[in-house]
């Protein structure tokens, strides 16, 4: 029971972090059709910016400054580079972001070194928040949940209650029509790209010290975020939210539950020995499969529902 509750909370924290990354990506992806491989690089930059800024003026200002820096960088990239590539087609745009991801990764190595940096949780939050059945729930995780929840609320309000939000929503499904109605679609693109980058940066700020801040963090996070976006379905923030939570929970529980097919079969009275066919496959414990599960789920969902969980349009 205690394992269940703690894992539930941890899964929620991880899922919300994923959502913060994936929400920006899903907006960019749905609206501009760009598979942005540099999105996770923005997450990494957010963490590194926060590390550097927090050493000078502390963690709390960094919480604002780092995402703003990432957003500004995103705006510059969209206005001065991506827009030029746009006319060469979607694959060219995608490859552009791949090149960008290469450059950012190496630049980070040059600026901050190859090893993880000591980006730590602020002292105020570095304590247990409450006890559940004898295990601690760390205050910083509570803070992460709070930030993500506030962020989720703000995005929702922005998209449903403001004029620009309505334009963005319309552009998600009918970008040409929105342009025909006289809205400045390129500017909306810039805003969305900058906003998405800022969200990724924020995820980096609060995720970098929770996980680890190192030059390979973009590469480890990148594919998972793609999985979340496609799993949830294009053009659907709600699908993205659900997908993030599912992925967060699945990965957390997979680490906790130490079972294998062999254990299941043992319950049914079948004993797996090394002589059994597929013994190697049957005895793999679930925690080792954990990293694999999101991809398995992605493939299954795409085969059954090519639009993803709640996708509103074709990919």
């Amino acid at each position: 029971m205690e394992v269940l509750l703690v894992s539930l909370l941890n899964g929620l924290v991880y899922g919300m972090l994923l959502f913060m990354l994936a929400s920006g990506l899903t907006l960019i992806f749905s609206m501009m059709g760009v598979l942005n491989f540099a999105h996770a690089s923005m997450y990494m930059l957010g963490a590194y910016f926060a590390f550097s800024v927090s050493r000078v003026i502390g963690f709390w200002p960094a919480l604002v400054v780092a995402p703003v820096l990432c957003g500004g960088l995103g705006a510059l990239i969209e206005m001065y580079a991506l827009r030029r590539v746009h006319k060469n087609g979607h694959i060219a745009e995608l490859l552009f972001t791949v090149g960008l991801a290469f450059i950012i990764e190496k630049s980070v190595q040059m600026a901050w070194g190859l090893l993880p940096v000591a980006y730590r949780v602020p002292a105020v939050l570095d304590r247990p928040l409450f006890h559940v059945y004898g295990s601690n729930f760390h205050a910083y995780r509570g803070f992460m949940l709070l930030v993500s929840a506030v962020m989720f609320g703000l995005i929702w309000l922005l998209l449903t209650r403001t004029r620009i939000g309505l334009v963005i929503q319309a552009a998600l499904t009918h970008p040409d029509m929105v342009g025909a109605l006289g809205h400045n679609v390129p500017r909306v693109f810039t805003i969305v790209f900058a906003g998405g980058s800022a969200l990724a940066g924020l995820a980096g700020v609060i995720g970098g010290n929770y996980l680890v801040t190192e030059p390979s963090m973009a590469v480890t996070m990148g594919p998972i975020v793609f999985v979340v976006v496609v799993f949830g379905g294009l053009g659907s923030l709600a699908g993205c939210f659900i997908a993030s939570l599912i992925m967060g929970l699945v990965q957390t529980f997979a680490v906790v539950l130490d079972v294998s097919f062999a254990d299941l079969l043992a319950h049914l009275g079948l004993k797996v020995t090394s002589a059994t066919p597929l013994a190697e496959f049957l005895t793999i414990p679930l925690p080792r499969v954990g990293a694999l599960l999101p991809y398995l789920m992605l493939i299954l969902v795409l085969l059954l529902k090519p639009r993803g969980l709640m996708g509103t349009r074709d990919t």
């Binding site: 580079a81 490859l95 552009f96 791949v98 999985v227 493939i299 090519p306 990919t315």
Partner: protein, 443 residues
């Protein structure tokens, strides 16, 4: 004309065909001839050995040519963007490693020359199994499924011991003692010639495939899959066959990889190699059959030499990539093709002057840029690794202002000059095309 051909009989006809082949395919034959003699340029007559570095690099070029062309069967010819193509290279490689080990132990006496075929069949089998699911979708969904498959197989390769050997991979020994020509395959140069042979066969087969109904329908499904359906073909089956065959050729590349390095690890199925396929194919040019060949040669050369000299390969690759997608979306082959009408009109010489004027400023910019990157790199990573920046025996200290100022001057001055030169080049290009158009009108 045709009557004359009939009367002169079959031998002349065959000779005519051979002559036609020579006339039409001479670039391929010249490339093949060059590939056959090029290792001898690095032959050391005093020791009687080939340079190991050169032979290894040439072998890698051969492998990557097959790999990039097989990738272009999906990306260029069928319009399918795959993020997991290395899976089939790797699985073909693993299959080959097991078969070669079986040959060594004597249970399966297959000649080493034919093991690439086995690797290809391995790649084909896995491509049939995985492609059955992946090709149910197209466009982005297909790309994402292949991304998932790539990650899945990489995780499996690390997890399972029997087939993949876990993290250590599967080692093998190519000196099995079974050979069609009685060769031992101990020296790498013998393997290189095996690679040249299989590369020639694979390239020819892939070229012929583009002329079959399948190849044509793949193009049709890429351009407009709805219309392709009206012709009476099932686009899904077209995608499936194209995917399977592309897996076959990737498997051949994987087999040659195994024979060259005598070990297969999870790197061969991992995302970095898949990204490399995309890089080579796109930089070479997806629209032309020979494009990926150019890309493969260029990328392997850059990768081997740049990574010897500098640890900033990723930055250069990234910048090259960004420049290509921004200014030359057709790749290198596309750039060459742009000159075709001018060459036909016999006016290519008119562009020589403007091109020469580009060379110096472009070199300045490149040198300035490389200097900046290397200075940054040596300031942080190099310092941490205890290396110092030496340029032809002169040590450059990145903590002094001198080199930085030099780099800045080169970059800024070269940049302004290059901009000016590009302006002149654009004007010259426009003039030449205008003239050709004008003469075309008159004719």
């Amino acid at each position: 004309m045709s009557e004359g051909l009939v009367r002169t009989g079959a031998p002349a006809l065959a000779a005519g065909r051979a002559g036609g082949l020579l006339r039409r395919q001479w670039p391929w034959l010249a490339t093949l001839a060059f590939a056959l003699i090029v290792p001898w340029f690095s032959f050391d007559w005093t020791t009687g050995r080939h340079s190991g570095f050169i032979v290894s690099m040439l072998s890698q070029i051969g492998i990557m040519i097959i790999f990039a062309l097989s990738y272009n069967m999906l990306m260029g010819q069928a319009g399918l963007l795959s993020f997991g193509h290395a899976v089939f290279l790797g699985l073909g490689g693993y299959t080959t490693a097991h078969v070669v080990n079986a040959a060594k132990s004597g249970t399966l006496p297959i000649p080493l020359e034919l093991t690439p075929l086995v690797g290809g069949l391995g790649g084909l089998a896995f491509a049939l199994a995985l492609g059955y699911f992946a090709t149910k979708q197209r466009a982005t969904a297909f790309a994402m499924i292949t991304l998932g498959i790539g990650e899945l197989v990489t995780s499996c390769a690390l997890m399972f011991q029997t087939f993949f050997g876990g993290e250590g991979g599967v080692s093998t020994n190519r000196m099995t003692g079974h050979s069609l020509f009685g060769l031992g395959y101990a020296p790498p140069i013998q393997v290189y010639y095996l690679i040249v042979g299989w590369t020639a066969i694979s390239v020819a087969l892939m070229l012929l495939l583009t002329r079959t109904p399948l190849g044509r329908m793949a193009n049709a499904c890429r351009d407009n899959f709805e219309r392709a359906q009206f012709v009476g073909y099932d686009p899904r089956m077209v995608r499936f066959f194209q995917f399977a065959l592309s897996g076959f050729f990737a498997g051949i590349a994987g087999a040659l990889y195994t024979l060259t390095y005598e070990i297969v690890t999870y790197d061969t199925v991992a995302g970095a190699l898949s990204a490399n396929a995309l890089l080579m194919t796109y930089i070479g040019g997806v629209g032309v059959f020979a494009g990926p060949v150019v890309g493969a040669v260029l990328i392997v050369l850059l990768q081997s030499w740049v990574s010897l000299l500098s640890n900033s390969w990723l930055v250069y690759a990234g910048v090259l990539f960004i420049l290509m997608v921004t200014f030359a979306p057709g790749g290198l082959a596309g750039l060459v093709l742009m000159h075709q009408p001018i060459w036909r009109a016999g006016r290519l010489g008119r562009l020589a002057g403007p091109y020469l004027r580009l060379v110096v400023p472009a070199l300045l910019v490149v040198v300035g840029f490389v200097l900046v990157i290397e200075l940054c790199s040596f300031l942080t990573i190099g310092a941490a690794q205890g290396k110092s920046f030496t340029l032809s025996h002169v040590t450059i200290d990145p903590r002094t202002a001198g080199p930085w100022a030099a780099a800045a001057v080169l970059l800024a001055g070269g940049g302004v000059w290059l901009r000016y030169a590009i302006g002149g080049f654009g004007a010259a290009w426009a003039r030449v095309t205008e003239e050709i158009k004008a003469t075309g009108m008159r004719a």
